[in-house]
């Protein structure tokens, strides 16, 4: 008889300007796997953070085994039996498996008070064999594969008597074989009575491994279905829900020549046989979920990720790109995924950020020509309608939308002919979104070839002239504009 292990009741969490979690109630039975699905920004991470103690909820209650608990820090979460296996593993790589599992609580010999290594190793082996793993407890964790490291984290959680285990995109970095092994591990955990919350974008997986699925959208819980009674397309429409509005500009394509071509791009173990081309004035969308390889493709185009095989052709000529400087020389512009850490220098002013990529153009001599810099700043503030009290304000004080516009302006100042844009409107308000789309439209008309990497489905469907679906490092399918709806796109990307 399954008992209610966890109950989150009417949980709310807001940040300035956005309700991240809006009156969500979920429950988890012992020995069950509950899938948690939803698009980027649906609220899954925030919900989980409140359970794991990384964030404190504004209102609501959490019950574990029918006892109300206060989870206000990671430590209290652990005490209450909640453990999280994050995507970015936090193992202590220089220490052994046994030490990672027992960190801070090594078993001691009763008389000598010294560490009882034998006991630590035995208990580690016990926990590991529970997970069907034969990892040697003495191995140094740094030498293990990502899968093995995950198992170590799971073992650590089990050892700490985790009743609720949260797994966040656990198979994102795993091979098929390792994923299968992980599923067997999950089965065993179920038999132990552990309750698992399984966050994943991958439909197949979720349908394979979960007992029930909860779907979130825009901070709300849309519904929870028993997996075996559910239909994949139904789940996807629950995730998407909203209508495709006339929100996006219609960007007309007058097909001109091929500006950019990628041939047989390969990064061993990451992306395989990537081939596509982009015409002048065309927007090609790359759509893939977490761990699909989309980001790697984008980064390899500008030389941040090193290619093992393959060629890049610009206007018919092969080019070699070894880093951002080369890509700039070849007139490729890049809007990185993380504007705060990769796109902007937060302590610099608006003016200084806008000119950072074009320092050479700030006058003929080695001295910066202030009037040229000022005019650049004015130009882009006007063109992109950047809202800032002055050009000398530090960029970190601006809103996300304005920050993104500054990244855009900085890149566009270099007059790129090819533009790689990653998540252009993530964390950006509606008004700024429209401005950015308008800019992309203008660029198309000027003949810029644009590669758009985005997980915002309505966005990528509406703006792109073609969408390439990427999953597990390969391009799976191509949709021309109008050929696919939101469900189709998500479905294709969720396969494999």
């Amino acid at each position: 008889m399954k008992s209610t292990l966890l109950k989150m009741s009417k949980v709310c969490k807001s940040y300035p300007g956005v309700k991240a979690v809006d009156d969500v109630s979920i429950d988890l039975f012992s020995g069950e796997v509950l899938g948690l699905m939803g698009e980027n920004g649906a609220g899954k991470s925030t919900l989980i953070k409140m359970l794991s103690g990384a964030e404190v909820m504004d209102s609501g209650e959490i019950f574990i085994n029918d006892l109300k608990v206060d989870v206000n820090s990671p430590k209290s979460a652990q005490k209450n039996g909640v453990s999280v296996i994050y995507q970015e593993l936090i193992t202590m790589d220089t220490l052994s498996v046994a030490e990672n599992i027992f960190v801070g609580q090594l078993p001691l010999n009763k008389t000598t008070k010294l560490v009882d290594w034998k006991a630590a190793e035995k208990k580690s082996s016990d926990v590991l064999s529970l997970l069907n793993s034969d990892i040697n407890p003495k191995s140094i964790v740094g030498t293990l594969s990502i899968y093995e490291k995950q198992i170590v984290e799971v073992a650590k959680a089990i050892h700490k008597n985790a009743k609720v285990l949260i797994m966040d995109e656990p198979t994102a970095a795993l091979s098929e074989k390792d994923s299968k092994s992980l599923f067997e591990v999950i089965d065993r955990l179920k038999n132990q009575g552990v309750g698992i919350i399984y966050i994943s974008h991958r439909l197949e997986e979720v349908f394979n491994i979960t007992d029930r699925v909860s779907v979130m959208r825009d901070g709300k819980l849309i519904g929870t279905k028993t997996t075996k009674d559910a239909d994949k397309k139904e789940i996807i429409s629950m995730m998407i829900g909203r209508e495709l509005s006339q929100f996006f500009p219609e960007i007309n394509l007058e097909k001109k020549g091929v500006a950019f071509k990628v041939l047989d791009l390969n990064i061993n173990g990451i992306i395989e046989n990537i081939n596509f081309e982009v015409h002048r004035g065309e927007i090609v969308g790359l759509f893939g979920l977490v761990g699909s390889g989309c980001l790697n493709i984008a980064r390899s185009i500008i030389g941040i990720d090193k290619i093992d095989n393959g060629e890049i052709h610009i206007n018919g000529k092969k080019v070699s790109i070894n880093g951002p400087k080369d890509s700039m020389k070849n007139k490729i512009g890049f809007i990185p995924i993380d504007r705060k850490h990769e796109g902007l220098t937060l302590d610099f002013s608006v003016k200084k950020n806008l000119s950072l990529q074009s320092l050479d153009g700030l006058g003929a001599s080695f001295i910066i020509n202030n009037s040229i810099e000022d005019s650049i700043a004015e130009k882009w503030i006007k063109k992109l309608e950047i809202k800032t009290p002055s050009v000398d304000v530090q960029v970190k004080n601006l809103s996300g939308g304005n920050q993104q516009k500054i990244v855009l302006g900085k890149t566009l100042e270099t007059n790129p002919e090819i533009l790689v844009v990653v998540e252009p409107t993530r964390g950006v308000d509606v008004g700024a979104k429209m401005d950015i789309y308008k800019m992309l439209e203008d660029l198309c008309q000027q003949g810029v070839a644009i590669i758009l990497v985005s997980t915002d489905i309505p966005e990528i469907l509406s703006i792109s002239h073609r969408v390439l679906v990427v999953s597990t490092g390969k391009i799976r399918k191509e949709f021309k504009k109008g050929e696919a709806n939101q469900q189709d796109l998500l479905y294709e990307a969720s396969l494999n």
């Binding site: 790589d93 970095a173 761990g291």
Partner: protein, 337 residues
């Protein structure tokens, strides 16, 4: 192939490589010079390393936890002066002298630790500052107290602390070797077999995860700094006993060699990894080089000052190797995003 690469990056095989290097050095100097390979000379080498070895042990604690302590040479220096002061001016018996100096060393270590953990200043700048501060104090004490002008100690009981040999007649084992053994073995047990010792490694390996696991990171670091200070003080006493002399400049240039030995010995600068065996062999290597170069100078024209150059080169090579290993590892850990 991949497994081999992995083990190269994370293995502890450095001890083997170091031992081989040490043997090569011994062979080299034995062949090149007539008097290197002799019992007398080996005793000379061992006689020169105690203070260094003890300081390296102290620094190891701090590096294991992820920081750096540049003030250890100064703590040794002030201890040297204080030892003479306590002995000559205050008339302390040996045991009281020892206790007081080690206590004061611990206090200075605590000063470092508090500044780094509570105020949050970078450990390098902190210990750079305390290094100057303590050295200045040392000179002040040395100059202000008249008896200090000649910092000699002639009392046999005191001198025996550093110069005694076991057993009385055959004089085989120097007492300093005993100190090194006791301290290193005790540290070995502490670091590898006690709960707290493993917490030191945990904090050095991944401070955030250690904190999540409930380890009091500040306390662990503070203890390491205090231990480093106490050990440096003890090393200072041994040095004074050996030399019969305690001057204000004692230990002034030691810290570079100490850092070199610790880095060479395989202790990871980012923390969480390091074997005492490696450290002691590295100390021996540097001691052999120092001694060997003196002999080399007598036979060839090679100035023995090249040994300082050699030490710097070794430091650079050691850290260069580490950087290469690091980039290897980064390549291995690429993930699909």
């Amino acid at each position: 192939m991949k497994a081999w690469l992995k083990s190269l990056v994370y293995s502890d095989d450095i001890v083997g490589a170091l031992t081989i290097f040490l043997i090569i050095l011994v062979v080299f100097f034995s062949l090149m010079t007539p008097h290197f390979f002799s019992m007398n000379n080996f005793y000379s080498i061992i006689g020169n390393i105690p203070a260094m070895a003890i300081l390296c042990l102290g620094l190891t604690y701090v590096v294991l936890v992820g920081d750096l302590d540049l003030s250890l040479g100064s703590i040794l220096g002030i201890t040297a002066i204080l030892a003479v002061f306590f002995f000559k001016v205050m008339g302390f018996p040996l045991w009281l002298n020892l206790l007081s100096c080690v206590f004061i060393g611990g206090l200075f270590g605590a000063l470092n630790g508090v500044i780094v953990t509570k105020i949050g200043i970078n450990s390098i700048i902190t210990t750079l500052g305390t290094m100057a501060l303590i050295r200045g104090l040392t000179y002040w004490i040395a100059m202000d107290v008249d008896a200090m002008q000649v910092g000699r100690i002639t009392d046999p009981a005191f001198l025996n602390f550093g110069r005694y040999y076991f057993p009385e007649d055959s004089r085989l084992i120097p007492i300093t070797l005993v100190y090194i053994c006791i301290l290193y073995v005790a540290s070995y047990i502490f670091l590898n077999h006690t709960s707290f010792g493993r917490k030191i490694y945990a904090v050095g390996s991944n401070e955030a995860t250690a904190r999540l696991a409930g380890i009091n990171v500040k306390r662990v670091k503070l203890v390491c700094y205090i231990l480093a200070g106490m050990l440096s003080a003890f090393g200072g006493l041994v040095l004074v006993a050996q030399l019969g002399l305690g001057e204000a400049y004692t230990g002034q240039n030691m810290i570079l060699e100490v850092v070199t030995a610790v880095v060479l010995g395989g202790v990871l600068l980012t923390g969480g990894k390091g074997r005492l065996t490696g450290v002691i062999i590295a100390v021996l290597i540097l001691g052999v080089i120092r001694n060997g170069m003196v002999h080399l100078e007598q036979v060839t024209d090679i100035s023995f000052y090249w040994r300082d150059v050699a030490k710097g080169v070794i430091l650079l090579l050691a850290i260069g190797l580490y950087s290469v290993r690091k980039s290897f590892n980064a390549k291995r850990l690429r993930t699909r995003q």
